[in-house]
Symmetry: C3
Subunit: 440 residues, 3 copies
């Protein structure tokens, strides 16, 4: 029985490829460089896919940790967040974040849209490690992350129209401008500020937005009663767990992709520090949660794990594995202390987003100035870290506060009391998150 | 303390490798080409894994959007679908789809099974971008997709034996023969028909099968009563959302892998158009759903997103990002209009599979002839697209209709009224999908 | 409108890279080798990520197949398992498993921790296919797998403190020492024992631990009553299905990564045998389940699929696709027979972990000596397989039995009757797995 794929044809094809290469007398340089370039770009595309799946991770954490009457609303928000993030990044964000500063500054704009040639042959336009298109999509996935952080904190009582308007402005404008200061070669970069994969530029920026949101929204009805904090049990711990595992998985791309190539040593080193930070973050959350609540608090394990990931993100490439353990452990403890403190202040954060992303984002950024070692072996300086944290924090918080404040004055940002009590799903979406029945 | 991995040994090994390469006086060509070949093959294997996970995506969408009394039945079908798909593709499908036409035609067969040497050293048999084994597995994952599309539409009332028999025939024979006409170098390929990653060859073929199925099955009991469409609430919106996100993720491999190499420019371009199509599909579904149902219909957002992905699939490599936005947006609107129309016709599709995969598969294929630009910069022609859509559609629909019709006459394809009302899980599988109790 | 990314700058950068390469007169060897090395390392990092996500797969299977009153407890255990696994592997496991035997033996230790240079430039220390860091993380993900297998079997009645202590010792010490005998170049490797990706070293080692655990724990209350086996319905079949699909996905990395490079022919061959084994495993479980239980037993399909994966793991690179079908099918049947047998012996395994991982792990390892063909075309010998199975099995079982036995004598390993009946979630964690309510 003759077989197409077993004939000598493909073998011949392959040999002829090699001959063609050899026949140039000296080796064809484009094939040599293309191997490395292709490999690097593949890593960056996989990293993009991994960061993408973090949006499902966030959706899982937020829907799992919030009440079943609002499940659809949360999933609706979290599905639209990457959609809005990618579209706004396509329209203006990418060229706001990487505008090509003539001198390092605070604002520049590279123009609307993308407009490379249609037929995909964009390799010529690529920098060393990946193509223009990979660059755009990887960064677009990052952009959407900042908004999704806000989503969790303000859940269960924010008006959907307010959230969408906020997201359009925050992801479309605030995030890329702040990002441009470091990653776009702007003023913070020139000032020596270091943020490898975004403890500040992504996580604390999102966290500051979340803080502004919950300050202006106020706590959920019945959350703080007579000086007590009332638990609002989440609908599904398995869903939240799926979310956390997917976030850890996604962080392989978030941090691993931030090397901006497939550099074997650098990327794999980053994956190790990232995973170690996650592990001790979980342990820190477990210990602190046990100390405070006298139980094996699973929510604190999960949030501790995320806290460890956020914490190690700023210095995953410059902090040794041993210190990564410390950074993660401290982050895991901080997330518990922060959650308690916020509740004391009656700042109601449904999923602990401020504690995980703002507090541990700041911690991780400062940790670079404490434990980080530069490529030349010298310690990383601390003051530029403090400066970057302050400048980005002030900008992100003020911007978010202003956006939410104006929306509140103009339209109101909170659903009616009735809708909040009865659940957003039935009122805004007309369906329930779960319909599990066996009798008709 | 001496450490194995820290001794000079590995360093020496690495240096000796380089020396061995250099000692050939001129560079060893196999290593040069192997770098690129290895990278390409890695991308194709990752794409295979991503397409595989689409089967979990489909399982999530279908189980989430259908009633809890049939959850196990749906998961059972969707687990067996890739199993059957891969096995039939191994036995005959692969060699039906890539039979090695001597002249472009309508049927050829390359023989049963795979039979390369055992010990994995198949690189010699590979074409430029990936090995024979990668080729087989990537295509096998595609094949199973076509059947899984049918699964969703016919859910909640089809006999499991009918579904399995149908799947064996449809995936084992119909899908690969139709596929061979374009991707196997057959008659449609020669006619200038273009379908990059399968808007027609996979999605509308599956969609036509689904349409035939629901026509012959009839609607679920109680779906259309007194001229009204009665909602059958899905068991779990989070599960459906997980499904949609995994499908989007999987589409990175579905479209990105259809480049058939890791070509940096082409693949990353395709990922961008794919993601943009998904985004505007979601927006289109949101708008159309709001216009029609006067609510923020989350189901239409999710199906719109999938519609955008299906729509851009045929031309993801030849349609510019700007037009990709349009293709996705139109698909998102069409999915809503189609869902309403099918309900008007009392064609009961549990999860909207016909609207998403058939309607938007056709739309996407025609869109290549409207917005597509060939590698030489000329517009892609429209008529071959229409021709391909018609030929594949007629074949897929007729084949599926005949299979279901014969099965209906011989054995019946629908469960008893009692089983349908009480749920398939308890009758066919003896367990329930969810058992959430806290009191014994 | 001028655009940064569309200017000639990046093009110039790229060209200058190529020139720099060429200007060395002869080609720069490091770039040539770097392309292949980078590609190989990328595959291994992706494999690491895929093995990581198996931990979510296990969490899904175990939480889905066990009762809702213990859901949080199971998720808690399964989240801490990779955390503990990675940390112990970092501290001692890695250097116990790859200690650098001077002569092949039974024990050696390479010292505590990892201590390569901080700044990620570890490529010089790498062996051919991946970096030191990738090596560590890939193997660490494997290590945690062995413990997670135990977790499922002993669920619903084990004390959390006992489980954690057991895991620390089993993953930190037993697993790496046993592993060193083959993969670390120890005595079993010298004896000709073959275990490609761990049917014995990972799966049956975990399975023996699980068997010891359920022997010493005893069955759950109410599991065996008056000679009958009482079903304990799992909380969520969708969750278990998600778990199984993620395990299959993860096995792309588990087996595919065990090639220890991105070798195109070898890795893709392994993916094909792995997937074929999974498929016929599912079919075997379906048939055997139908024969025994007279129903379409979905649990047996899922466990059969996993059994097929476990079975093919030892010989995925040396067993032909045709025999892989047989190995998987037999494994699928064995898992059903084993489950029945265990119930006859009143050995209560909540999720079938012993049947899947121990029984089919042994089967798969022996199958190498039946169907395997070495690289030189000769059959693989059978006796070394039997020897390896016996030595590893005796060691793993005895070690696990001793650990659990000592823990039982010292502290007790089982929760109180009241806690078991009322559920571990409310007593140990203070929350419920699911809180789905729509009325307040």
């Amino acid at each position: 029985m003759e077989k197409f794929f077993l004939s000598e044809l493909p073998l011949a094809i392959r040999e002829s490829t090699l001959e063609a290469t050899a026949s140039a007398d000296s080796i064809d340089l484009s094939i040599v460089a293309e191997g490395l370039f292709t490999a690097n770009n593949i890593w960056m595309m996989m990293a993009t896919a991994l960061v993408f799946i973090m949006h499902l991770g966030f959706a899982g954490v937020e829907a799992g940790f919030s009440q079943s009457k609002n499940t659809v609303n949360i999933l609706f928000k979290n599905t639209l967040t990457p959609v809005i993030g990618i579209l706004t990044y396509y329209i203006i964000g990418f060229n706001l974040m990487y505008p090509g500063y003539e001198t390092p500054g605070w604002f520049a704009f590279g123009g609307f849209f993308l407009d490379l040639p249609v037929n995909g042959n964009s390799a010529d336009y690529a920098s060393g490690g990946y193509t223009y298109w990979t660059d755009f999509l990887f960064q677009a996935m990052f952009a959407a992350t900042a908004a999704t952080i806000v989503s969790g904190a303000v859940a269960e009582r924010i008006k959907i129209s307010s959230y969408i308007t906020f997201t359009l402005l925050f992801v479309g404008i605030v995030y890329p401008i702040v990002g441009s200061w470091k990653w776009g070669g702007g003023a913070l970069d020139a000032a020596g500020f270091y943020d490898f994969a975004g403890s500040t530029l992504v996580h604390s920026v999102g966290g500051w937005g979340a803080l502004a949101g919950i300050m202006l929204l106020g706590p959920r009805i019945g959350k703080y009663v007579d000086g007590k904090v009332i638990d609002k049990p989440g609908s599904s711990v398995p869903l939240a767990t799926i979310g956390v595992f997917l976030l850890w998985l996604g962080w392989f791309g978030f941090n691993g992709g931030s090397v901006l190539s497939g550099d074997p040593g650098k990327v794999s080193f980053v994956l190790v520090t990232t995973s170690l930070g996650a592990c001790t973050g979980a342990i820190g959350g477990l210990f602190a949660g046990y100390f405070v609540f006298k139980r094996l608090d699973f929510g604190m394990v999960l949030n501790g794990l995320l806290a460890g990931l956020v914490g190690i993100t700023a210095g995953a490439d410059v902090i040794s594995p041993g210190w990564a353990l410390v950074v993660g452990f401290v982050a895991g403890i901080m997330v518990v202390l922060s959650a308690i403190t916020l509740d004391k202040l009656k700042l109601d954060d449904c999923v602990g987003a401020v504690s995980v992303h703002l507090v541990c984002g700041v911690w991780g950024t400062l940790a670079v100035g404490i434990f980080g070692v530069a490529a030349d072996g010298t310690p990383m300086p601390f003051l530029p870290q403090l400066y970057g944290v302050a400048v980005c924090g002030a900008t992100a918080f003020a911007s978010a506060y202003i956006i939410f404040f104006v929306l509140k004055k103009l339209f109101g940002i909170r659903v009616s009391e009735q809708h909040e009590i009865e659940g957003l799903d039935s009122h805004e979406h007309g369906i329930r998150g779960y319909t599990i029945v066996y009798d008709e």
